[in-house]
């Protein structure tokens, strides 16, 4: 263990000269197997288990999250992704296991202290403070505001200066997330997607080292998704590490440097996105055999049909196809 720590420090010593955006050194030490060691991990979890009434929601033998990288956590519904988030950030306590952030153990550390250490999360069910304005929501995220102490709250002179800095920081972020026009409105008046954005922007107010986003793109329109993807990529340039849960495979493919696949509480595969998506176990458990096919247009249907005809297990192309083949036939004619 101490050996890896030394390695970490030596890595972060020369880290200043490295552009994290173009850093292409291998992430893992050795093979990309589930639970493999990373060159420079920020979070290390060992034997973390959590069961709810006999069901093992999370049973992670060993997991390292690489520093200065964007890691995607994917897996079918109920795989334990959100539970793992809760465990790592102190919102839930594991039954067993050790887990650490930047070398310091997080066992028994309460959630607010985890956040102060620089590990900030968002929630799958968005949490905004409805009856505070968007700007107040943002300001609430900021750290080191002396006015948040009762002893200093009465005297504006003691916190007014920091408040101005915070407001400036919030304005920059709100503009990036296209919420600047909304800043004096109550957060409750925002749409679901805008709330997602606000929550993400607010978590960045903390200036975290590790941002953990739980389905950041759910309910956000495609154009905004594009610009958000750029923002998330840019977080890396600012020296942050990102861990996110997402079901949109395009997003995972475009921005993730590393993908961790969970199923039934366990880590079943790890690796760069291209590699992981070809992994048969991942295709079985999560992606589905025909995940590349766009079912929305006629071309896609044809491709699917061709794939299914080649597939021995499928009824398409055999006498048993019945009504299924008729639908495909009509679709084909429409397409031509």
């Amino acid at each position: 263990m101490s050996e890896t720590n030394e390695q970490n420090t030596s890595n972060s010593d020369n880290a200043d000269n490295i552009d994290y955006m173009t850093d292409s050194r291998p992430i893992a030490v050795g093979e990309n197997t589930p639970g493999c060691k990373k060159r420079d991990p920020i979070v290390v979890a060992e034997d973390v288990t959590r069961s709810f009434g006999g069901i093992n929601a999370v049973d992670v033998e060993y997991l390292e999250i690489p520093r200065h990288k964007i890691t995607a956590l994917i897996g079918p519904n109920g795989a334990g992704k959100t539970t793992l988030f809760n465990l790592l950030t102190g919102f839930d306590t594991p039954n067993t296991g050790k887990w650490q952030f930047e070398g310091s153990s997080l066992a028994g550390v309460s959630s607010y202290k985890v956040a102060r250490m620089g590990m900030v999360r968002t929630f799958q069910l968005t949490k905004v403070m409805g009856k505070l304005t968007v700007m107040e929501n943002m300001r609430l995220g900021a750290a080191e505001q002396p006015g948040e102490r009762l002893s200093k709250a009465l005297f504006k002179g003691l916190w007014g200066g920091r408040e101005k800095e915070i407001t400036a920081q919030a304005n920059v972020l709100l503009e990036k997330f296209k919420l600047d026009a909304k800043k004096d409105d109550y957060a409750a008046s925002l749409s679901g997607g805008q709330r997602k954005l606000l929550e993400m922007a607010r978590s960045l107010m903390v200036k975290p080292k590790l941002v953990m986003l739980d389905e950041p793109m759910a309910g956000v329109n495609p154009a905004l998704t594009q610009s958000l993807l750029d923002h998330i990529k840019n977080l890396k340039a600012e020296g942050m590490t990102v861990l996110f849960v997402e079901h949109d495979m395009n997003m995972v493919r475009h921005i993730a440097d590393w993908v961790v696949v969970m199923a039934e509480g366990k880590v079943v595969a790890e690796g760069p996105p291209g590699e992981v998506m070809k992994n048969p176990a991942v295709i079985d458990a999560y992606l589905g055999a025909h995940h590349d096919v766009d079912l929305g247009d006629a071309e896609g249907i044809k491709v699917l049909e061709a794939e299914l005809e080649a597939d021995e297990e499928s009824v398409v192309g055999t006498e048993d196809a019945g009504i299924l083949s008729e639908i495909v036939e009509t679709k084909k004619e429409d397409g031509q």
């Binding site: 607010y112 929630f123 905004v128 403070m129 409805g130 300001r139 609430l140 750290a143 008046s189």
Partner: protein, 322 residues
């Protein structure tokens, strides 16, 4: 009917020390519920702790006024800790259950016969207010139709209300107040941003409780007596009425709410008595009229909830998302 008397007595209620006490205690509830989302159904308990803390330290220990005041405030802080430590980590409902029970426990403890020598049991305590009136700077005479004692307690009571309102306003516009409001909306979100939610809730519980204790003292001083029956559960609900009348997350709301509450009570009482005495209403006794006015307060509260649910000072916009 003497309308002049009816209105002057209603106006008298506007600035009575009891109204000031209600305003202070309701302000404490505003800190608890309006700003922090803590459901405190035992504000009467805090008032009782304040009143008894003051009376007992004066009578049993001969404490000078300010020492008795400090002891009573410390007692309410202790009471807040006892209530808060087990419940503030749990959901909001648990605090509601515990506070309502604790307030009753306080009332029953001071009523028990075993403690008669200290608490005076059901008869309560009296003659502890001399240390207060000894400080009266106003010489004897008539001040706007009041004697110097009545005038002094009004000046002190409303002075205290003003100071507390300013303090609460200063606190709530600060980043500290912002964290509290955030906790009211969603405490897990605030936790995820690195704030110690438990500590903030405890601080809010203590501040609101101390306001309640001060209110308890203001409530008992002009009466010259403290009795357990004054601190029943209905007192807490009158305070909630004041809070809802004025507006929950406002500073002036509880004060105006308390004024409206007492003016309405006084007006309905005087009008009903006048009507009964002049023979217009024959189907009511004066005792029944006394009960009826509380029913009327309930009706007024219902009408308010229908036509102005945010209270007098509340922000209508906040309700759009309730």
């Amino acid at each position: 009917m003497d309308f002049g008397f009816i209105f002057s007595s209603a106006l008298g209620e506007l600035f009575s020390p009891t109204t000031a006490a209600y305003a202070l205690a309701a302000l404490g509830l505003a800190v608890h519920f309006g700003y922090s989302g803590l459901l405190n159904f035992g504000q009467a308990g805090f008032m009782a702790v304040g009143a008894y803390g003051f009376a007992i330290s004066t009578l049993s220990f001969d404490a000078p006024f300010f020492l008795a005041l400090i002891i009573s405030v410390l007692c309410s802080v202790l009471f807040a800790f006892i209530l808060g430590i087990p419940t503030l980590r749990l959901r909001a409902d648990y605090l509601a259950i515990v506070t309502i029970a604790a307030a009753e426990i306080v009332r029953y403890v001071v009523t028990t016969n075993q403690l008669t020598s200290v608490t005076g049991s059901a008869n309560g305590l009296a003659a502890f207010e001399n240390t207060f009136y000894a400080m009266n700077p106003f010489p004897e005479g008539s001040y706007m139709g009041m004697n110097n004692r009545d005038f002094f307690i009004r000046v002190v009571a409303w002075g205290l209300v003003i100071v507390c309102c300013v303090l609460v306003w200063l606190l709530m516009r600060s980043p500290w107040g912002r964290v509290l409001k955030g906790i009211r909306e969603d405490e897990n979100a605030v936790r995820s941003l690195g704030k110690n939610v438990y500590a903030y809730k405890m601080q809010a519980l203590i501040i609101g409780g101390v306001l309640g204790a001060l209110a308890g003292m203001i409530f008992t001083l002009p009466r010259g007596a403290v009795q357990p029956s004054n601190y029943g559960t209905e007192l807490t609900f009158f305070l909630w009425t004041c809070l809802l009348l004025g507006g929950m997350a406002t500073v002036l709301g509880p004060v105006i709410g308390a004024m409206i509450f007492w003016v309405v009570l006084s007006l309905t009482q005087s009008l009903l008595y006048g009507l009964i005495e002049s023979g217009v209403i024959t189907w009511l006794t004066t005792v029944q009229a006394g009960q009826l006015r509380y029913i009327l307060v309930g009706v007024a509260l219902m009408l308010l909830m229908i036509f102005r649910p945010q209270g007098v000072f509340g922000n209508k916009k906040e309700l759009a998302f309730a």
